[in-house]
Amino acid sequence: MTTFLQIITNGLMLGGLFAIVAIGLTLIFGIVKVVNFAHGEFLMVGMFLTWMITTRMGLHPFASVILVVPAMFVLGALTQRLLIQPLMGAEDDHVQIFATVGLSTALMNLALLTYGADIANTPTFGLRAPIELGPVRILTGQLYIFLAAIALVIALQLFLKNSQTGRAIRAVAQHRVAAELMGVNVPRIYILSFGLGAACVGLAAVLIAPLYPTSSNIGTYFVLTAFVVVVLGGLGSIPGAFFGAMVIGIVDSAAGYYIGSGLREAVVFGLFLVILILRPSGLFGKRMTLSHLS
């Protein structure tokens, strides 16, 4: 029983990790409708920034949030403005995928060029200290990630529901052309959303950096799982992404224990495929209209 509880707890904490990474991706995927393969590299960039700020200035890693998040916002906004936006008019929307693949390759190798292949260890400041909650143990840092993911989901929901900009973002996400007709500046919203998505992953980077050694290819560890989470959650649904992440976290953790660690990827992707095929709108998304007839 303790083991089972521990597996579930581990799964939830892992889910928190996936959630915090995937929320930014959900924004980008749901609003700008771009499959951003460079998302993992955004995380990597954020983690290196956190590492540099923490080690050079001797600050608590969480303090670097005030620099990392705005920096990542700028990176995201620039990506949209300089890379994605010019391609919005391309005959083929797949082009954007390859633009982000190119960006991903370039960023990964730029990091290799700059920092070498060594891992960079962000000081942990006690974030790896375990906390005992009844029969189960979790890490302080994991708990922070979990809580931050929940806070981020709530904050984004409030922002999207109640603010003028948020409503404009939702309008664009639902129907780009209609929003344009209503006078929404769509390119601006896209830049903002991409920046926001990158800023979210910046927050994720700050929280993750003390727990995972940073290296140029750390992003590749996360990016596919993040996509799985986004799709499971339903396109663009932020709470959906959170719950999707929990599902994947628990499945991953349980599969690793009960089925075998060698097959956990197969289980996660298999589940993803089954859900995708049976419910293309995701576990928590609203049903999409399947045809534009009548």
Partner: protein
Amino acid sequence: MSHSDISAGPDTSPGQAHSRRGAIALAGLLAALLVIPLVIDNAFVSHIFITICLFAALSTAWNIVGGFAGQMSLGHAMFYGIGAYVGMILFQIGISPWLGMFAGAAVAALVGMVISYPCFRLKGPFFTLASIAFLEVMRVLALQFTSVTGGATGMMIDLRLGWTWMVFRERWPSLLIVFGMLLITLAVAWAIRRSRLGFHLVATRERESAAKAAGVRTVRVRLIAVAISSALCAMLGTFHAMYLTFIEPAAMFSLVFSIQIAMFALIGGIGTVTGPLLGAVLLVPITEWARASLGSSALGLHGFVYGMVLIMFVLFMPNGIMSVIKRFITPKPPTDEPTTTETGPISAPAKAAEAPSPDRAGIGSDILRVEGLNKNFGGLAVTRDVNFTLREGEILGMIGPNGAGKTTVFNMISGFLAQDSGTVSLRGPDGQFHQPNNPADFAALGLGRTFQIVQPFAAMSVEENIMVGAFHRHHDEKNAREAARQTAWKMGLGPLLQAEARGLTIGGLKRLEVARVMAMEPRVLLLDEVMAGINQTDVRRAIDLMLSIRDGGVSIIAIEHVMQAVMSLSDRVIVLASGEVIAQGRPQDVVRDPQVIEAYLGKEFADAHA
């Protein structure tokens, strides 16, 4: 999704010289791929050329699914890997890779069809992500089932040399083999692009519903495309396994490799026959050069340069190299072409047709019977117990206020929407009544339809659009093209044959919609507001045209708001309001029916005129 093709696309008289020039350039390029390495005779140069041919061929094969069918797969390494593993396993039990190649192709085609079938309903990025997930699952399984695949340590072949085993000390035989495979792949792609299958694929990609209406079995054609594409990739995989002599799951089922395959097609020109070849010819040497000259100077530098080159390509040639070439070799830039979207007059028949009447000579027995049709959308009854029949050679007008359920009825009687209850029976050429349940089966029985909101295949030319319809009757590309041209001239689209559909005016698109369905030579024609948006003179001509179609023996149901047309065309009219048939009969009688007036204009108005 986009792009018709220039070198293999429709040849037209002004373009012929250019396409010949294109063909010569292509032949030259291909010859260079073979001759340069043979002349230089250096193992590394040969290796680069083998890599170019391999990627060009893989990318061309990918393009059949990713380009023609528009299913953006990033899991194609899976088929390559299957081919490699099957070839390798058979090699080890003493079966020549020349046979193993086909075994691998069969397995890959099967796997491709099985996994693609449920994925076709996934759109855009979802299909892409699913393909990646399948690839990942495949890789994990290959790692796991050690007894079959050798697991992580991979499999290698003992170096049995010779043609039987496809393993050579020299490079040229491998070059020859892969070059031959490239030629075959290109030929297959070229043949598909020109064939009925190719038109069906592109039509499905551009607009699935319109393709279905044109009788395209959209799932089947895409499955065929997947099977061909996977089989070709697998054969290349077998070759490459013999060339590498060593395979392992991480290398064979690699996402990076899959992305590369797709990328060459994208950079060359997705959906074109020669684009993937150009992409590989250009990019492979750049990659090799970057690695050879930058690889040793700093860790990661060449990867960085490679990423930046990719970004630059995508930014400055988002539609691929082929579109840039196209711009250069097209005789006149499209902007200079005057009055591109000006349609010609609809050619009405010379002699006046017999005036419509329910009991006019030439009207035969029932051809379509609609009985008790009911449809609810989430509790809202859209049609209620709709009954009517259409007789052979008759024009049946269908009118009713907006939201009356007319288009829903159309969707049900053409197989696009399943009714909740009731039957739709269509008399086939065999004289028997059938109850088809999908658009393709309806089309096969001779039913054609148009859409209220026009659904052109935007990236195809007007001619190609109509050809999609013509392919319903003609299997041969030449005949289909001829039929399409005739239909186009009849519909006043003659001057626009080579224009891209996306550039047409609304009126032009409406005509294109009718032309496409006419090219199918339907026995029953469902027209959904085809008169809306065309000018007054053309309405008159269109009416005459429809009458001449009618006199050709085609039975027509027309939803129409242009009352002039309804009155002068229809033998009979049925009126739909709130999902119910409220009146039917002669047009003159029906418009005087108080119930009809009420439905259109409100109760007070009806009372006032009663």
